[in-house]
């Protein structure tokens, strides 16, 4: 194994080492280690980002084609590091107030990010699975991080049990796909299925062509007939596992409970990072590996997208708890992304990628306001606690307003352009029914986000809610999120170009 292969996983390696350092730093140094841990973590993320940027010059397939360094993977890596850095910055006050161990929190966050990075770059289902498990295990622990609080432990337990249940489906899907094609490499599976279906159509035309050794020389010999049933089964099992992770219907049941019980910064992380990583695997598996069976699984995506939007938005209408509300909104947003996914095109894929970035920025921001206002012990997370926020803390309220407007999809915010691209790609793919459903949904969704705004600006507070001063780290994060949301709405080009590039690569390379 040549040594230069290691550059391919350099970002992950950096994060692993930094994670270990932070873990030791957290346990060995004396009392006031918070700042040190945070600095090292952020530096590690910065180093990993530099490594990823440098990787653009060294693209290709590594480790026997198991691990890809391509625009698609790089896009996701950068997104993950941004999310992790924002979560690190925003959680500082929270961890201090809740008296949680800082070192372990950051370590788990970093390890989770490593897993997500592997998921985004994996060209082999086994590696995807390992990445999925690494990131999931870290998230399970993070969800239960407030050990003294029953609801947090309950969430962790639920998430762990259901999550392992779902990944078992995923694993079973891998096994069946291997059984059907004889490979776990996505690009190989793609090629094998192409050959087989090519043979099948040729056979239907009347001449049975045997594959010449040259076409299939390096590949495993594909099955004789197109294994439709087996592939369908495999696709649906893979779908179960991945839909669970992106909290798409009908596998969304865990989301509200887990999001509500988890520490708020962790909820922010879960709703953006692992969700994006699962989408990365989703896109790779279905658009590359299972490309040939698109007409089978696109129906699946269609139904799931429509269900997610409706369940998420309708259930959110009556929520009074902010975390639960945002949890349902997260389900709905997964639905919008699935709409673009269903389009099965370069435009659709880049719409998903852009949406993920916009959603990450706005949702992290919204959760940060929820974290800050929640105060010690997350006591103030009901919508009534937001009454009159517009007068008591205009700046905080203004930030939350930006995030909510973006979640609704008002122009000049990232959320609008995200939705815009989603609708556009769906319309171009002639998914007229689905487009109309998503349009109706985004009209319904406006209602519950508006409720929060009504509470902030138009209601008088019902009980005194203490308001902590905004610390510098929270301020910086809020500024990045709010600025980023607007930036994506006004100057979306750079991100869009990256997304487009990644999407083209994903669909064109195979």
């Amino acid at each position: 194994m040549p040594a230069w292969n290691l550059t391919a996983i350099l970002p992950e390696a950096i994060l692993t080492v930094v994670g270990i350092v932070v873990m030791l730093l957290g346990s060995f140094s004396s009392q006031n280690q918070d700042r040190g841990c945070r600095t090292v973590t952020l530096m590690g993320l910065a180093g990993a980002t530099v490594a990823v940027v440098a990787q653009r010059q060294h693209q290709g397939a590594f480790f026997d084609g198991m691990f890809l360094v391509d625009p698609f993977g790089i896009f996701f890596h950068l997104l993950f590091f941004l999310i992790a850095a924002l979560v690190v910055l925003s959680s500082a006050d929270y961890l201090q107030a809740e008296k949680l161990t800082v070192g372990e929190f950051y370590t788990l966050l970093l390890f989770g990010t490593v897993g997500m990075g592997l998921m985004a770059s994996a060209n082999d289902l086994i590696l995807s699975f390992i990445g999925l498990e690494i990131s999931s295990l870290a998230s399970y622990v993070l969800v239960g991080f407030r050990r003294g609080v029953a609801s947090s432990s309950e969430s962790a337990l639920k998430y762990f049990l259901l999550g392992s249940f779902a990944t078992a489906f995923f694993l079973y899907g891998i096994a069946l796909l291997f059984g059907a094609t004889g490979s776990t490499r996505l690009t190989q599976i793609q090629e094998i299925l192409r050959n087989v279906s090519g043979r099948a159509t040729a056979g239907a035309a009347g001449t049975v062509l045997l594959p010449t050794p040259s076409t299939l020389s390096s590949l495993a010999q594909g099955p004789e007939q197109f294994p439709t049933a087996l592939l369908g089964l495999a696709a649906s099992l893979l779908f179960v596992g991945l839909a669970f992770k992106v909290s798409a219907a009908p596998f969304q049941v865990w989301t509200p409970d887990v999001y509500q019980g988890a520490p708020t910064p962790v909820t922010a992380f879960l709703s953006t990072g692992p969700k994006a990583a699962a989408f990365a695997v989703f896109l790779r598996v279905f658009l590359v590996g299972l490309e040939q069976t698109a007409d089978q699984w696109s129906a699946l995506l269609w139904v799931s997208a429509a269900l997610s939007m409706f369940i998420g938005n309708l259930a959110a209408l009556w929520q009074s708890n902010m975390k639960r509300l945002l949890a349902y909104s997260s389900i709905a947003h997964a639905g919008y992304m699935l709409v673009a996914f269903t389009a099965h095109s370069v435009d659709g894929t880049s719409a998903v990628l852009f949406y993920l970035v916009a959603y990450a920025v706005m949702n992290l921001g919204a959760f940060l306001v929820v974290t800050h206002l929640g105060n010690r012990g997350e006591r103030y997370v009901e919508m009534d606690d937001y009454a009159g926020l517009g007068y008591r803390s205009p700046l905080l309220a203004a930030c939350l307003t930006i995030f909510l407007l973006s979640l609704i999809g008002i122009p000049l915010t990232g959320g609008f352009l995200g939705k815009f691209y989603v609708f556009r790609s769906a319309l171009q793919a002639d998914l007229i029914g689905l487009t109309i459903l998503s349009v109706v949904n985004s009209a319904i969704a406006a209602y519950y986000y508006l409720r929060v705004m009504v509470a902030m600006y138009m209601n008088a507070p019902e009980r005194p809610v203490p308001l902590e001063p905004v610390s510098s780290s929270v301020g910086v994060t809020l500024f990045i999120c709010a600025g980023g949301t607007l930036w994506l709405g006004v100057f979306p080009q750079s991100i869009l170009r990256l997304a487009e590039n990644a999407a083209q690569w994903l669909l064109g390379a195979g």
Binding site: P250, P256, L427, L450
Partner: protein, 653 residues
């Protein structure tokens, strides 16, 4: 193209005003807040004036920077100035300025002074973006922005639950329309590969007229959906009457003069598309005509002064939309302008009345205000005459071409003319009913106040009093405009120069009727039609005079005779109720009963929190937490997986 006009300043100045008041207004005095807000609008107005006079023959384009430059999609931040957008910008800033000045006096008694002006300035920013935008996407930015500001301003009296609800209703109803616009926008891009007016409109003009429904027809119908949402046309009009819960200057500015006419603007702007899609054009005319007539009938029986004006607004916008539908775009914009004058005046006058009576809005409780509010009375009378379309008031000159075009245009017909003339009669009837009940007859408020039946409101000082000069001056200026504003468009028939049509012609050059039937009518026909419409208007006024001034008992008798019809119309044909049971109720049931009570609340109850509230037994608690809920969740996952797998396998075999 050289950019020496700096069009971007026109919307930006109000934005700066909004930011200033939003950030520092809370600590500033009312005077400072007002001068910043009014000053910003004044500057914007002057800039718009400068742009107006700099107008050349060709449309003037300023492009600032590229907004989206993806390979497959491009849009710029650019502004577009032609006679149409220049006139719109002038109306918005001019009427906006007068209403701002009025509001300085009107809002001084209310709380949230800085907040109000912040939202108002923000509204102007978005409205000006809407009218000056050089492409459909930027227009959409303004389009959504004005909706948002309208929502904020409707819900301004935040202590009133119904006001907040009305705001949400407005936001969501118009948003349904907005998505029509959004999809239209996407289709425009896929058809023309651009969103800039300067490229789309000529491209559309070069396309053949669609004899059967094609992409242009679909685009135009979708735009109509958007316009119907924003301009409160059938069937999406339900939000506008409720929107009257906002402060009166807001009703005047947003819900009468500017924002609600955005739908007319977008149809006029896309005129080149519409004339190539005659079927869509017919739908436009139909929607407009029906709305004009339908809303006017509701206006007859309403009793809330602002609601009558709201239905009148819906009806008048219906007129404009109908004018667009018969391809009389410049007539539509003409009426849009005069309507902005007299409807703003009506609302501000109504505000003055409400102000004087300490919040009373029921016209049955008014009367005899002529003596207490002389300036309001006279300006209101001018506005009423203008909306009733009597010469020489502005409404006459703008409404008459619409009626005439409705008849002679190749897209029109006798049906639309009939709808129009009936509506004209009803309009003059209900507006003078309002006028007579409010200003003539016995003063009912004074009696009510002295006998103590009426709950005295804070600003109620017993005897109604005229508003301060800062409120009456804008009224008088608007009255002058309502009277004389129509004179710029006196047609050749009346020895006028037809300046209006000539001025706007460049904006609609691309919408020149591709198949000019050129049905020529002699002047005599036109004069007969004009006389007919004057006659109808006068008849409406006379009837109102008879029923509400001379013989008030007749009105009651008529209402009693036609009890069924009266109740039906009084309840607005029960459309709100029908919508609720058709659209809102099913959503609520699914959401609350199934998802919330069925799944969500059950989940909370089954979880630790819920159990902790019910049972305090420790061992039991932990055990159930582990077994009950998760098992059911896993059950859901399995159920979903089974459905999925059987679906997939079923598909495969």
């Amino acid at each position: 193209m050289e950019s020496n006009l700096q069009l971007w300043l026109i919307p930006t100045v109000p934005l700066l005003g909004a930011l200033w008041n939003g950030l520092w207004g809370k600590r500033s005095s009312e005077r400072a807040v007002a001068s910043v807000a009014v000053g910003a609008v004044a500057v914007s107005f002057l800039l718009a004036l400068r742009a107006f006079f700099a107008l050349g023959d060709a449309p003037y384009l300023e492009s600032y920077f590229s907004w989206i430059a993806a390979a497959s999609f491009q849009a710029h931040f650019n502004f577009y100035l032609d006679p149409l957008s220049a006139v719109m910008a002038l109306i918005v800033t001019g009427v906006g300025l007068l209403i701002h000045i009025y509001a300085v006096g009107y809002m001084s008694q209310e709380g949230g002074y800085y907040r109000f002006f912040c939202y108002m300035n923000l509204f102007l920013f978005f409205m000006l973006t809407l009218v000056l935008a050089g492409n459909y996407l930027l227009m959409f930015v303004g389009w959504e922005g004005v909706g948002l500001c309208s929502y904020l301003l409707i819900g301004f009296y935040f202590r009133r639950e119904d006001a907040a609800d009305a705001g949400k209703k407005a936001f969501i109803t118009t948003r349904l329309g907005d998505f029509g616009f959004l999809i239209a926008l996407l289709m425009i891009y896929s058809t023309f590969e651009s969103l800039n007016y300067s490229e789309v409109l000529p491209a559309a003009a070069s396309l053949p007229v669609e004899s059967t429904a094609g992409p242009l027809t679909v685009i135009c119908l979708l735009l109509l959906v958007g316009a119907a949402g924003k301009s409160a046309q059938v069937p999406l009009y339900v939000w506008l009457p409720d929107a009257m819960l906002g402060p009166t200057p807001v009703s005047a500015l947003i819900h009468a003069a500017t924002m609600v006419t955005a739908g007319v603007y977008i149809i006029a702007r896309s005129s080149a598309l519409y004339v190539h899609a005659p079927q869509a054009l017919f739908m436009v005319a139909l929607v407009g005509g029906i709305t004009a007539f339908y809303a006017a009938t509701i206006g007859i029986v309403q009793t809330d002064i602002k609601r009558i004006l709201a239905y009148s607004t819906i009806s008048q916008i219906g007129y404009m939309v109908m004018a667009c539908g018969v391809a009389a775009f410049s007539a539509a914009i003409f009426h849009l302008m005069t309507h902005a004058f007299f409807k703003a005046l009506l609302f501000l006058g109504a505000g003055s009345v409400i102000h004087a009576l300490g919040g009373e809005q029921d016209i049955r409780k008014m009367g005899g205000l002529r003596h207490y509010l002389p300036r309001t009375y006279w300006s209101f009378l001018i506005a009423c005459l203008a909306i009733a379309a009597l010469p020489p008031f502005s409404g006459f000159f703008s409404k008459d071409p619409i009626l005439w075009e409705a008849y002679v245009s190749p897209y029109g017909g006798i049906l639309f003319w009939l709808l129009g003339i009936l509506t004209a009669g009803i309009t003059s009837f209900y507006i003078f009913r309002l006028f007579f009940l409010t200003f003539h007859g016995h003063s009912k408020t004074a009696v009510a106040t002295s006998s103590g039946i009426h709950v005295a409101e804070p600003a109620h000082h017993g005897v109604p009093h005229e508003s301060p000069p800062i409120m009456t001056w804008p009224l008088m200026i608007l009255a002058a405009l309502s009277l004389a504003g129509g004179w710029v468009g006196i047609p050749a028939l009346w020895r006028g120069g037809d300046h209006w049509n000539l001025f706007l012609a460049p904006a609609f050059r691309l919408a020149a009727l591709p198949t000019e039937h050129a049905v020529s009518h002699d002047a005599a026909t036109e004069i007969i039609f004009t006389l007919a419409s004057i006659l109808v208007s006068v008849a409406g006024i006379a009837l109102a005079y008879l029923l509400y001034c001379r013989r008030p008992e007749l009105a009651a008798a008529a209402a009693a005779r036609l009890r069924g019809l009266h109740t039906l119309v009084l309840n607005k044909y029960y459309v709100d109720e029908i919508y609720r049971s058709l659209f809102v109720q099913p959503l609520v049931v699914v959401s609350r009963e199934l998802l919330w009570k069925g799944m969500d609340a059950a989940a909370i109850d089954g979880s630790f929190q819920g159990l902790a509230n019910r049972t305090r037994r420790l061992g039991d608690r932990v055990r159930r937490m582990q077994s009950g809920n998760i098992r059911s969740y896993a059950g859901w996952v399995v159920l979903g997986a089974i459905l999925l797998i059987s679906f997939m396998v079923g598909l495969a075999s």
